[in-house]
Amino acid sequence: MATEALKIEHIDAFYGDSHVLHGVSLSLKEGQVLALLGRNGAGKTTCISSIIGLVAPRNGTISLFGETISGLPPETISRTGVGLVPQGRRIFPSLTVKENLVIARQRESDDPKSWNLQRIFGLFPRLEERQQQLAGSLSGGEQQMLALGRALMGNPRVLLLDEPSEGLAPLIVAEVGRTIALLKQEGQSIILVEQNSNLALSLADDVMILNTGRVVFSGPASEVIGNDALITQHLGIFHGH
């Protein structure tokens, strides 16, 4: 049995008075990809924000490799080994590509698999070509690669990807998919939030579906693929009448 990289137990999250997450639990095994699916407003991003500490869950615990991280400030959680590729990419537009990467440098080791500038540039040659350019002048796809590279520079033990395919052309989406597959091959533990369930299901080992802040399905990806009833009911985008 693989060890649990990230575990969420019964968390409740609020924005002011509105109750967004209701007793959500999840478990990510080391080296696997967990896809977090659901409609807009289902609570996927809130779930990610709770893990990184930008939203403080009111009840329940979150642990990284057995170590409790809920309640810690985001900078501490990040240093413990959680990397985030935020929704909408959120690169630093007035910093150069290289500066965007360098400020995220953390937890570097002698391991040949440890991420550093050279390895990021090897993974995304486009970023190397444009390293002196202001990140705000990159295309959407390049910004997504930069956001991914920036998260990897922190050598995360768990990588959180919040809608990496959002707003990208199909060719770029495929490239993002290939990159995630490559990271998975290297043994990176990943939580992948997606609206694009085809992409997510092609990469995920396990799937969790959220609906209005509650877990409505949790299980292996194979149980979701081909289960039209489940997809229609909770994701409801492909098979509408």
Binding site: S78, R90, I103
Partner: protein, 311 residues
């Protein structure tokens, strides 16, 4: 190309006193002092996204501290300078703890309030500050036995400090720490999600800006040999902020250009035009309308567009 023009400019600054009269030499000293002040404020405003309306606190406090240490405590000018800078940095540390509880307008209001407290003290605590009469009878330092009493010597002294200040602040903003600082300006939440302590980055910058503010305060008090509460006033803070914005915030050269414009208008134009404040207003209005990003980035934009059009 950039380095060559920079070197030529610096050489011109060095030989300037050889062919200029005392009035212009003194004007140039004032510009350099104001530029160090504006550059230190620019660290907060331009690179940190923290608009302060109380930066004169550092200039005024260091100036008063130096005056007090030399006249009341009998310290030498050099010792007093070090003590004043240290005291100002401690104060910056405390002010930063209070002001950095907020960003944006809140930060602006707190820095303004804190500087007004100092201004009030300078006016009312007559036993220490001599109130509205100010403190006079101050001396300039004499590094390596060289008297700085002549305008030209003092100009060269100021120029050396200016070059060092410019160089060290340039290193500061282009370092990894500087990138992190600009990151907190762009997306503070992202920076914390990347493992940076945003508050600490801002606090260190605040103290560093306070350090250079103190240096400009010392140069100022040596220059005037006199200190008055008005150097702690909101007008002094606002003039620094105007210089930064007019010259181009978040650029290295902007504060120098903005300060030069302000000091020249203030000293030179006021000799010919009685309502020079109005003239100042019009100039800034013009800048805001035509070069909203400031003179240095604005001219760069126009220049590069010209070049792009020709090729």
């Amino acid at each position: 190309m950039k380095q060559i023009s920079g070197a030529i400019f610096l050489a011109l600054l060095c030989v300037f006193p050889l062919f200029a009269g005392d009035f212009y030499i003194n004007l140039a000293s004032q510009i350099l002092i104001a530029a160090i002040f504006a550059m230190s404020l620019n660290l907060l405003v331009g690179y940190g996204g923290l608009t302060s309306l109380g930066h004169a606190s550092f200039l005024g406090f260091a100036a008063y501290a130096s005056a007090w240490f030399t006249t009341q405590m009998g310290l030498g000018v050099g010792t007093a300078a070090v003590a004043s800078i240290v005291a100002t940095m401690v104060m910056a540390g405390l002010f930063g703890m209070i002001a950095l509880r907020a960003t944006g307008l809140g930060f602006l209001m707190i820095t303004l309030a804190l500087s007004q407290v100092l201004w009030g003290l300078a006016y009312r605590w007559v036993a220490v500050t001599n109130g509205d009469n100010g403190m006079s009878g101050l001396a300039r330092p004499a590094p390596f036995g060289i008297s700085l009493d002549s305008g030209a010597n003092y100009y060269w002294f100021t120029l050396v400090v200016f070059v060092v200040a410019y160089w060290l602040m340039a290193i500061f903003v282009s370092s990894a720490f500087g990138s992190a600082l600009r990151g907190t300006r762009d997306q503070a939440r992202r920076m914390s999600a990347l493992g940076h302590e945003v508050w600490m980055i801002r606090w260190i910058t605040f103290i560093y800006a306070g350090f250079w503010g103190a240096v400009s305060g010392l140069l100022y008090v040596y220059y005037t040999k006199y200190i008055h509460p008005s150097s702690l006033s909101i007008t002094a803070s606002a003039e620094g902020l105007l210089s930064v914005i007019a010259g181009g915030s978040g650029t290295l050269g902007g504060p120098l250009v903005g300060s030069a414009l302000l000091i020249i208008l203030k000293n030179y134009a006021s000799a010919y035009v009685e309502r020079w404040n109005m003239l100042l207003g019009f100039v800034f209005l013009f800048i805001v309308l035509v070069l909203p990003e400031g003179i240095v980035p604005g001219l760069k934009r126009i220049f590069s567009r010209r070049q792009g059009g020709q090729s």
